[in-house]
Symmetry: C2
Subunit: 201 residues, 2 copies
């Protein structure tokens, strides 16, 4: 444990400007500090961690409303370690939430033998993302989808191996941050792997 800090130090250590920190407080993205009077409060390392996460989410393109849903879920961690990765999904922004789950997606998962709960938000995201890609002229034939799915098993194996063994609140924080913030790492790796593999052909 380190000593509590004032807002100016929280700003310095996080690299987030004081007016932005005040905005996070007003929007409920950052819990209030321990009050030291009408205009002063102390913040902990927990606050610093939260500020860094919120900043990284917003920089990664997550909206303020979505970031708020994420932080609310972090404030209500699960009571058991079971399926921490699955639980984290319900906290994460899930695009295409209104797209019905397609039969094609259910058939793909059945073919892969993947066991997922039928109300998983990612089923809607996957159905919507496939439809959006196709509407823009990307054909995505079934064998390509299956190939992508098999490759993501390797990604998820790394995710599962890196679920932290910390207390549940910290573990949920890490899993949520890791899911959102590793997506851009994977996107950049994909572009480099494309270049490597197409130069090899």
């Amino acid at each position: 444990m380190s000593l509590p800090m004032r807002m100016s130090e929280l700003s310095e250590r996080s690299g987030v400007a004081v007016p932005t920190l005040k905005y996070y407080l007003r929007e409920g993205l950052l819990p209030a500090g321990e009050s030291l009077g009408a205009t002063r409060a102390d913040y902990s390392d927990e606050h610093l961690r939260r500020v860094r996460l919120v900043r990284a989410l917003i920089d990664a393109g997550v909206s303020v409303a979505e970031a708020k849903r994420v932080t609310e879920a972090l404030d209500d961690p699960p009571r058991s370690r079971h399926d921490l990765l699955g639980r984290a999904q319900y906290a994460l922004p899930a695009p295409h939430a209104d797209t019905p789950v397609s039969e094609e997606v259910m058939a793909l998962l059945a073919g892969l033998g993947w066991a997922v709960t039928p109300d998983s938000p990612a089923l809607h995201s996957l159905s919507g993302a496939i439809a959006a890609a196709r509407s823009a002229g990307v054909p995505l034939p079934p064998e390509a989808l299956r190939g992508y799915a098999e490759a993501t098993e390797g990604v998820a194996a790394v995710d599962v191996a890196n679920v932290p063994t910390d207390d549940l609140a910290s573990a949920l924080h890490r899993v949520v941050a890791g899911t959102v913030l590793v997506d851009p790492v994977l996107a950049a790796l994909r572009r480099l792997a494309q270049e490597h593999m197409s130069s090899q052909r």
Copy 2:
């Protein structure tokens, strides 16, 4: 080849409202149609394809300025099929363009035996995305990065196998659309694979 269409039909077939089409024209995201007089023009299937791509890019979170860079690159296709995937990258939005390429990233690629050009924009994106994830408390140890990279080889293998054999302009369109619009498909698959694999542990 199908018959040319008026803007109202372009709107109907693309699902993009007429005022939005006019906005795309003003912003240079959509080339002008063949003029039929002061206030009328004909649009082709090529325009329809472009409208669908621009709409999908913007829906996927690409900014208007970035979409404009993409469409400009599409209007200037490469003269040979060689490394179409690599070429597409210079057209695509590349986050963290100002982040210097880290030694860690160069060592990772050397360890993997990946051959990429030293000015590849994805080298900056990868360096920046790793730094952003770590600043938010995601540790990303070297063995995790390597595991992610090896898994993305499988993704890129599917990408390479699906490079279209159309004319170069169409192929570049498909590769650019496929790179940007398959990222959300992979993100959704990753979440489902996480749930499946963590329920198996």
